[in-house]
Amino acid sequence: MIVQNNKIAQNHKSRIEKHHIEDFIGRSYMSFCVLLLIVAIISMVYFVMSKGVSTFVVDKVSISDFFFGTKWSPEGNNPSFGALPFIAGSFITTLLAALIASPLSICAALFMTEIVPGWGKKLLQPVIELLSGIPSVVYGFVGLSVIVPFLRDVFPGQGIGVAAGSIVLSVMILPTITSVAVDALSALPQNLKESSFALGATRWQTISGVIIPTTLPAILTGVVLGMARAFGEALAVQMVIGNAPFIPKSLFESASTLTSVITLGMGNTTMGSPQNNSLWSMALVLMLMTFLFVFIVRLLEKRRAI
């Protein structure tokens, strides 16, 4: 009897231990995965930083020359590394794209949530998903073969340039802004709307006076996320923007962005040369801008919580 009891107890104990071992293995594996994420980001920040800073430390390019210099001629006897044209190009195209895409996206979101919530959502949801699924090189190809010839025929200039880049980018960031805006609008408490309607307000008065002001931080989150995407997009822009190293004076002039210069330049320069280092500095700028965008998104989300 006692022996049997012992056996049961032992059996019981070993089973508990098996559970513990399983738990331990599972937990360590998952911690390892998380650790990998941390290692990935730390090494990324470290490597991009160390390469990006060497323009200023090793090659002695002054920081103000890099950020405010307008002359980009990295080769030759007297090279100059003014990256302002590219920084300006990135900012101009990103802002223009956001200006085009935001009203469209907000209208799409209102259409899906306020105007015809039933079939509006059924129609636009797959449209948004498909738009976000189309690869960026395809956007570039369509931009190059549709938008550029169109702009060339209608406006002065070659067609390639800031306007083409912004239009292509605006279509690419439409889904980002729309889906965030839809989430925000559908999370809005119903009674807010109902009380507005009860006061005799029309739908537009409710939308403009109640719905948009209350969801504005959330909608802005979407806009910032879209801008982050536009700022980092490389190939589609590179294909249609013309890649001239000047600050554009009109919308229909060729320009460059940080990403397009890196795309074109990185393969043709040798590692460690001043020209190559300056490209890494631009990658560093891109990375810092990502941090800034994430920071702004977080600020907006805090405001949303109140």
Binding site: H19, E22, D23, I25, G26, R27, M30, S31, C33, V34, L36, L37, I41, M44, F47, V48, L104, C107, A108, F111, M112, I115, G120, L124, V127, L130, L131, G133, I134, P135, V137, V138, G140, F141, V142, L144, S145, V146, V171, A201, T202, R203, W204, Q205, I207, S208, L225, F231, G232, E233, A234, M239, T263, M266, W280, A283, L286, M287, T290, V294
Partner: protein, 298 residues
């Protein structure tokens, strides 16, 4: 009266702009398919590209894209599952969890070209893997992992709490609950998300230009020994993917029919992404029905 006219105008504007987006998508898809479909043939899909003469295909590129996708998923799925389950079930709210969440957010919004450069520096040069499929897959891992983590976490969080509580009430260990109770319920959402993210990886180009390379060696499709340099299965060979090929043909294509090749390749790319979307939906529903009791309960 005035408010009412304003309302009508505003509604009309909103509806017009919303329908404009539908028209943009219809125009885009229509254009891509119309331009590309008549260029797609079996020969185009299987033959190798030609540099200067017309009539090249996209065979190796298509194969590279699919192979790279498989490699990437082999790496990211287990890792993303682990980290995602950790975030959903094990991480306690606190400073470290908030930090990890921030990391996932930052990583997923990194420009893909920065990820590509990082891959060029660390994987290609310092690890010495060179321009290869493995390098490309590792770069895509950096790019895809945060997505997988998010998908997994969301899938696990959407499992009803009662299921977990029932598991605890039966005296199961946490690990058992995660693997046998929560995972099957979360699986359909994870699979759907994985296939959708695979579609994104399939179209990714900027991160691959500097890691998987912009050229493809002459492949011998009769040689399936993964160690020989001309074998398609060799993971250490450079591999130009379909998306990179489209970019290259558009930017510096020398073949006289470069525009047609770009159109055909774009159509193939878009059709593949569409298939991924459809398969994701279908698989999600199918597996949900297989793994849960939803059919018996109805």
């Amino acid at each position: 009266m005035k408010a009412r006219t304003k309302d009508k105008i505003a509604t009309a504007v909103i509806v017009t702009l919303a329908l404009l987006i539908v028209a943009v998508l219809a125009g885009l898809l229509g254009y891509i398919l119309f331009r590309g479909l008549n260029h797609i043939s079996w020969d185009f899909l299987t033959s190798a590209p030609r540099k200067i003469r017309a009539g090249g295909g996209i065979g190796p590129q298509l194969f590279n894209s699919l192979f790279l996708l498989v490699l990437t998923l082999l790496i990211t799925v287990p890792l993303g599952l682990g980290a995602g389950i950790f975030m959903a079930e094990y991480a306690r709210p606190g400073r470290i969890t908030a930090f990890i969440r921030l990391i996932v957010e930052v990583l997923s919004s990194f420009p893909s070209i920065v990820v590509g450069l990082f891959g060029l520096l660390l994987i290609v040069n310092i690890f010495g893997l060179g321009f290869s499929l493995v390098s490309g897959a590792l770069a895509l891992t950096v790019f895809n992992l945060p997505l997988m983590v998010r998908i997994t976490e969301q899938a696990f969080r959407s499992v009803p709490a009662q299921q977990k509580e029932a598991g605890f009430a039966l005296g199961l260990s946490k690990w058992k609950i995660v693997t046998t109770v929560l995972f099957p319920v979360a699986l359909p959402a994870i699979i759907t998300g994985t296939i959708l993210s695979a579609g994104r990886v399939f179209g990714e180009a900027a991160a691959l230009m500097f890691t998987a390379g912009m050229s493809s060696p002459r492949l011998n499709f009769n040689d399936w020994n993964p160690l020989s340099p001309s074998s398609p299965l060799n993971p250490f060979r450079p591999a130009e993917t379909l998306a990179v090929h489209i970019w290259k043909v558009n930017s510096e294509g020398l073949a006289p029919d470069a525009v047609q090749i770009a159109a055909g390749a774009s159509a193939v790319l878009v059709i593949t992404v569409l298939i991924f979307n459809l398969v994701a939906r279908y698989m999600g529903r199918l597996i949900y029905r297989k793994l849960t009791a939803s059919r018996r309960m109805n």
